[in-house]
Symmetry: C2
Subunit: 305 residues, 2 copies
C-alpha cells in the first residue's frame, strides 16, 4: 500500500513525486512516457534557471531529481482505477495491482495531430505543437499556423510579432472568440487561408514549404499545429472525477478534485488560468502533493473521518 | 514608457521578466534584493531539475536567465506608485520616475524575526525561517520551533517525522486551528513549552543549544522561527489593490488583482493555495506575465476600452 499513486511522469507528476518524498510519504509514480509532452520541444527557454536545453534534457534532470529521492517508478500504464475501503486500487496494462491511499492525476494532454504523410518525420524539424515554446526560434522567417480556433489565433498573433509573414490555414474558417478573430484579421502580416488543408510537407531536413489542398504552395520554415488538445482523462471517469465542459479535470487552488483523496496537476487540469507550461505543471504538482500530504495526515489522525 | 514594470526580483519577478521578454514586450524589473527570500536557504532540494544547490546559486541561475533576454534591471526600490492616464508611474528611492502600461507586484514577504542577540550570526547555521526547505537536513537531530500558530504547528509536525525530539517554544501558548493544536499535542516526540521565549542561542559555528527565559537549556541543532510573515504590500495600498484579511494581495487564477492593469505573483499573493515555494512563485510569475500580455494586447487593439 502506497501513500500516493502518481499517474503521469511529466513535469507535474515528477514534481508531485519530489514533494511527496520530501514530505516523508511513500509515493509510486506510474508512467510509460517519462517526461511527458515537453520532450517534443527542441529547445526550452522558459523554464527559469535552466535555459537553452531540449525538452528531453530538461525532463532528464527532473527524472534524476525524482530518482535522488528513491521514488519508485513503474514504467507501465494504468488501465483501471477503483475506489476501495482504504483508498484506491490501480490496475496496470501488465495486470499488476497497486494500492494507494491517495491519487494524483497528472496524465497531461495529447496534441491533436494533422495525420498526414511526413508529419512524424518533420516533428521538431519545423513542425511544432507548442507555439509558446517555439515561436521565438522562427524570428525573421515565414511560418504557417494550422487551425481556426482561439489557440490558432493566439499562435498567429504571437508569431506575427516575430515573423514577416504568418499564414493561418483554417479548414473550417476562423472560429472562437470574436475578439480573437478580429484581432487576427487586423494584422497586416497575417494571411488567412480558409477552407483549405495542408496536403503535403516538403523539405530536405527541415520544413521548407507546404502545399495546400487547392494546390497553392507556401514557402514557410515552420508549421504550428493548433487544432486542439485532448486531455487524458479516460481513467478518471470511472471514479467520477468532475471535468469542465472542455474535458479538463476541475480543480480548486489546492488542486483538489471533487473526489476526496483524488488530486490532479498539470496540463490535464483547469488550473493556472489555463496557461499550460512546464513551470505551471510543476507548481501544480507541488501543490497537489502538499494537499495529499494534508489529506493523509488528517485521515491518519482522525480515522473516523 | 515600459510595457510592464515588475516590482520584485525573486523567483516570481524574475520569471515574469523571462515570460514578458519572450512575449516580445518591454519589461523593466526593479529590485534592490535580487533573488528574494530564498537566498537565505542553505540548500534547495525542491526546485525540480536543479537539485542540491544553495538558494543563492539557484537565484543566480534565474538572474542569468533574465539577463539572457536583455531585460533591464534596476537595482533600486520603488517608494511610490501612481495611476496615470496611460498606465502607472513608479518613483524610486533615487527619485527616478519610471512609466509603465502595466504592473506586476512580486515583492514577496518578510519573515518575522526573533530580534534577539546572535540571530543574524546563526542565520543559515541552525536558524531557519523555512521549515519546508530545511526540515530534511536535520534528520535524526533534536530541534526546536519558535511560534504558536498554524505554521509553527505545521513545522513541528513535519519535523516530528524526521527528528527524535521537537520542542515548540510558544510565547503565548498554542493558537490557530484546533485541529492543528490537537494533532501537535498527540505527538509523543513533540514537547510544547508555553509562555516562554528564547533568550540566548549558543554554539561554536552552528546552533548547539538555546536557553529559554525560564533558564531551561535545550540541546538542539536547529531553531525554526515560525512567528509569521509580513507580505510586502505598503506600495499597493496607494493604488487600492485589494488584500485578504491577512494582508496578502487577492488574485484570481490568472493572477489578476481587482485593479485593471495590475497583476501580482509570488509569496505576496493568495495564489497557489497558500503554498509559498520557489516553484509556485515562478509559476505565478509566468501566469501574471501572460495575463499582462493579454491585457496590453486588448488595450492596444481597442484603444477605447
Amino acid at each position: 500500500m502506497y501513500d500516493i499513486i502518481i499517474l503521469g511522469g511529466g513535469a507535474a507528476g515528477m514534481t508531485a513525486a519530489i514533494y511527496s518524498a520530501r514530505y516523508n510519504l511513500k509515493p509510486i509514480l506510474i508512467s510509460e512516457n517519462l517526461g511527458g509532452l515537453i520532450i517534443d520541444a527542441h529547445k526550452v527557454e522558459n523554464y527559469p534557471g535552466l535555459n537553452k536545453l531540449s525538452g528531453m534534457e530538461l525532463m532528464s534532470k527532473f527524472e534524476e531529481h525524482v530518482r535522488y529521492f528513491n521514488v519508485e517508478i513503474k514504467e507501465q500504464s494504468v488501465i483501471d482505477i477503483k475506489k476501495t475501503k482504504d483508498g484506491f486500487l490501480a490496475t496496470t496494462n501488465k495486470a499488476e495491482k497497486i494500492g494507494g491511499k491517495a491519487i494524483i492525476f497528472a496524465l497531461g494532454t495529447q496534441k491533436r495531430k494533422l495525420n498526414i504523410k511526413d508529419e512524424e518525420k518533420f516533428s521538431r524539424k519545423g513542425i511544432s505543437y507548442c507555439y509558446t515554446c517555439d515561436a521565438p526560434f522562427y524570428k525573421g522567417m515565414n511560418v504557417a499556423v494550422v487551425g481556426g480556433g482561439d489557440s490558432a489565433c493566439a499562435a498567429a498573433r504571437l508569431l506575427s510579432e516575430y515573423c514577416p509573414k504568418v499564414y493561418i490555414i483554417a479548414k473550417e474558417g476562423l472560429g472562437g472568440e470574436p475578439y480573437n478573430i478580429s484581432s487576427v484579421r487586423s494584422k497586416k502580416n497575417i494571411e488567412i487561408l480558409e477552407h483549405v488543408v495542408v496536403s503535403k510537407i516538403d523539405g530536405s531536413k527541415m520544413v521548407e514549404s507546404v502545399t495546400l489542398s487547392n494546390g497553392k504552395r507556401l514557402d514557410v520554415r515552420a508549421l504550428f499545429v493548433e487544432i486542439g488538445s485532448i486531455p487524458s482523462t479516460e481513467l478518471v471517469k470511472g471514479v467520477k472525477v468532475g471535468l469542465d465542459e472542455t474535458g479538463y479535470i476541475k480543480v480548486n487552488d489546492k488542486m483538489q478534485t471533487n473526489i476526496d483523496g483524488i488530486f490532479a496537476a498539470g496540463d490535464v487540469t483547469t488550473g493556472s488560468g489555463g496557461l499550460r507550461q512546464v513551470i505551471t505543471a510543476a507548481a501544480e504538482g507541488a501543490i497537489a502533493a502538499n494537499s495529499a500530504f494534508n489529506y493523509l495526515r488528517i485521515k491518519r489522525e482522525n480515522p473516523k473521518i
